[in-house]
């Protein structure tokens, strides 16, 4: 059996095989696909295999934004097929490189086309006008595609306008080893039929027919029946012939291996302050008074998978780098939407975004990174946002809303006109609870009311101005919330960093001992010595440069770790924190 040609486009489904929130099981040259349409219209063609344990994704659930595997509930995002959530480990953000294999998908002439390694474009059908065609029911045949295509050359049918006739003249207009174009004429009626034979496997195929002229109502049904009857007859003959030949061996699909780092339980991939992605500002809009919204679209290809809570670094035209949370709901993978508040004392970050950046500009951004992961195993989740702190919590709330999990989003703002992304907020319905115009004392009282009555199975996520977070955290602690149920993200670290100490850092895995003098950070020193280390905000707020401490006493100066984590002394933010002991041993 010759090696099949994997570079040719073939239809693998009809558009009508992808009804609302269905997952269609397709196959081409021995390889199975899970084919599904997201609510935004995007058609996904994926390897029909969950990366975790190999279960077919075609038995999974399409929730309109993500595909969920039936076996362990892993969620994969529309477009990218990146895993966004692993329920067995609700506190961890899955490594964004856990991405299922995707295949190209083009919808044309009412058919969905794909190929493993396509070359060129989907064939243009002379004589068929996009949107005016009639797609016949796919006819599966237990016979090789070439044999079926050969047989189709002598297919005889009536034109749509003369179905009751018997004497149509049928002319072969074009043919290849997997397609046939035939024109049928009788008494002024004229129909062009193009048939593609989809090679499902070595001895199996599907006939996919397209007529050049759609019909309505009963006429349409009559045309469909006409071809159904004739093609079924053709199938019976082809299968009788095939049954007389030795059955060809099935084509064994080759599954790609997962990357080596995923073979172990993945850690977050090392990443410096690199801006690997180029995006275009597709839309700049007023998200609220003083808050600009930016919709960022990729220049080419797809954006990487993001998880709720994730942020990106935006590298601005003036050289500044700032972190912004992605506000998108699940499965909204065509662009990232961020919100930027104009800070009155802006040092050039938000001012540049507000005043300089325009629609059509190209920005460099980092891949999304999630240091603020959302658990989805809570009986009830409270989100408490202050001002622009709404952005990560909005993404989280939309994720829980999509899964119908219980949550409340409490949004503290000065007034209604300062509430950002009102269209997204509106979709949250009664789960959104605005708290407007409260002074600090009233805010404290409201927080106390909200956090009252802690029960096991509750989680709270906080994001907002520093003083509000301090207040919320101490109230939560007072009311019996364990540290492990209180999650927070600061915009910035307002602590005064004391970098006067000097100490020794030993890197256990790299077998290196380095001196950190006063005025330098651990991060700077280890990078200078060639150790790759991810970072983002570099002020102790975002958590990207987190590292494990094996020995020694850290001098925490960040706002990322909670009190329990600080006391444990097993983690350190290397961009600002230092050592109280003369020597610190890190797991690097």
């Amino acid at each position: 059996m010759p090696e099949p040609d994997r570079s040719r486009w073939h239809p693998i489904a009809a558009s009508h095989d992808l009804p609302f929130r269905h997952v269609y099981h397709a196959q081409l040259l021995g390889r199975e696909f899970a084919v599904w349409r997201a609510d935004d219209g995007y058609v996904n063609v994926w390897e029909n295999r969950c990366l975790h344990r190999g279960v077919r994704l075609s038995i999974g659930m399409n929730d309109g934004r993500e595909l969920k595997c039936q076996y362990h509930g892993w969620r994969y995002a529309n477009r990218t097929a990146g895993c966004t959530y692993i329920p067995a480990h609700p506190a961890d953000a899955p490594a964004r490189t856990i991405t299922n294999r995707t295949f190209p998908a083009v919808e044309r002439y009412g058919l969905v086309w794909s190929a493993e390694e396509p070359v060129g474009e989907v064939p243009a059908l002379a004589g068929v006008t996009e949107g005016r065609q009639l797609v016949l029911r796919g006819i599966p045949v237990n016979a090789a595609a070439e044999d079926v295509a050969e047989r189709l050359r002598s297919y005889r049918f009536q034109p749509n306008g003369a179905l009751d006739g018997k004497d149509a003249e049928v002319a072969l207009e074009a043919a290849s080893d997997t397609s046939v174009a035939l024109r049928s004429r009788e008494a002024g009626a004229d129909t062009l039929a193009v048939f593609f034979v989809q090679p499902v496997d070595a001895g199996r195929s599907v006939i996919r027919g397209v007529l050049d002229d759609d019909a309505e109502g009963p006429q349409r049904i009559a045309v469909m029946r006409h071809h159904n009857r004739l093609l079924s007859k053709l199938r019976d003959e082809a299968e009788r012939e095939a049954a007389g030949k030795p059955a060809p061996a099935s084509i064994e699909p080759v599954y790609e291996r997962v990357s080596a780092e995923l073979a172990e339980m993945p850690e977050v991939t090392p990443h410096g302050r690199k801006a690997a992605l180029r995006v275009e500002v597709a839309r700049k809009f007023a998200a609220a008074d003083g808050i600009a919204g930016f919709e960022l679209r990729p220049i080419k290809g797809l954006l990487p998978t993001f998880q709720p809570g994730a942020h990106i670094d935006v590298h601005m035209p003036n050289g500044e780098i700032r972190q912004y949370s992605i506000t998108n709901g699940p499965g909204e993978s065509a662009s990232y939407v961020i919100g930027v508040k104009l800070e009155p004392d802006s040092k050039g970050g938000s001012k540049c975004m507000h005043e300089t950046v325009r629609e059509g500009d190209v920005l460099a951004i980092s891949e999304p990174r999630n240091n603020f992961p959302l658990r989805r195993d809570a009986l009830k989740t409270l989100f408490i946002a202050g001002g622009i702190g709404i952005t990560p919590l909005l993404a989280m709330a939309q994720a829980l809303q999509n899964q119908r999990l219980a949550f409340e989003l409490h949004y503290f703002a000065q007034n209604e006109s300062q509430m950002a992304f009102r269209d997204r907020l509106a979709a949250l319905g009664s789960s959104l609870r605005p708290h407007l115009g409260l002074d600090p004392a009233a805010t404290g009282a409201e927080l106390r009311r909200l956090l009252h009555g802690y029960e096991a199975g509750r989680q709270v996520y906080l994001c907002g101005p520093g003083p509000m977070l301090e207040a919320a955290r101490s109230i939560a602690a007072e009311l019996g919330w364990p540290d492990s149920s209180v999650h927070f993200e600061y915009f910035k670290n307002t602590n005064t960093i004391d970098d006067s100490s000097s100490f020794e850092v030993a890197l256990a895995r790299s077998v290196m001992t380095l001196q950190v003098p006063a005025g330098r950070t651990i991060l700077e020193v280890i990078r200078e010595n060639g150790i790759e280390m991810p970072s983002s905000c570099e002020q102790g707020a975002c958590g990207t440069c987190l590292c494990t401490v094996i020995e020694g006493e850290p001098d925490h100066q960040d706002v990322y770790l909670n009190d329990a984590e600080r006391r444990a002394g097993t983690k350190i933010l290397t961009c600002v924190s230092r050592s109280k002991s003369p020597r610190l041993v890190l797991d690097l």
């Binding site: 344990r53 077919r56 038995i59 076996y71 329920p87 856990i98 997962v258 989805r376 195993d377 009986l379």
Partner: protein
Amino acid sequence: MTKCTDRVVLDLWHPLQAIAEMPAGRVHETVLLEERLGFARDEAGNAAVWRARPDLRADDAVDIAAVNDRLPAKVAYGYVWSSLGNPPADIFPIPEFAEPDRRRLNAATMGVNVSAPRAIENFLDMGHFPYVHTDILGAEPHTEVKEYDVEVSADRDEILATRCRFFQPMASTVSTGGADVEYVYRVPHPFCSVLYKSSPADEKRMDVIAIFIQPVDQEHIRAHMMLCVLDFDNEDKIIKRFQQTIFGQDKPILENQFPKRLPLDPRAETPIRADKSAIAYRRWLSQKGLTYGVIPAAA
């Protein structure tokens, strides 16, 4: 000529049938490792197994003492076991089976279109409880697989997973709400696993649920589910129905796993911490050099 050439698998004891479901003195037939076998038992509880032959067909009356050219045969844990090679003297121990106050029964024997090691891995897996056994063994949003311990016991040559806990919505017939249930898993045989689960009837003891897989071929099995439980109230059929429901939920998942044979290459699939026992199991099979029902890792 035998169709399985894997020495490790040929030399194992394999389960064939529950004794309770075999009328004495009659020929039964089954398939083990692609070989057709005949077998029977007598009233005294002795069993004989042989390669199927035309003079002894299913349902024929037979006196097992008169059958020659026999394969190794053993009766253990309520089942007839046999081997196509040179099996060890004893089958792995399940000491609880001898405790007099336990109910012992075959909950089900089910055919599944999957390899034996895939079925064992599914048996060891807790992460699927909320998704596959919804509202029975688990329920969303309680999806976390908490840290547990796995060790390969060198002297016993078996895998042991302890401190396994998972939230069960109706933890027992007496409790109204959900609670964490404790599990201990043993894999004492490449195709058999024994589960210990906190007993609702006696908080100091554990119920024993074992799965004994009969490999029909590399991608088809018969799964025998043995129960040895502390339940003094329910009828057999209630207990069986419960286990059959659970297994009936697993079957379509297993039959949609690809490839059907278990890949031993660590990079074939994506493990997470919750899969520690499966990772240990795959390594253990690799180290044994087992090849039947698996896709060995490239050397």
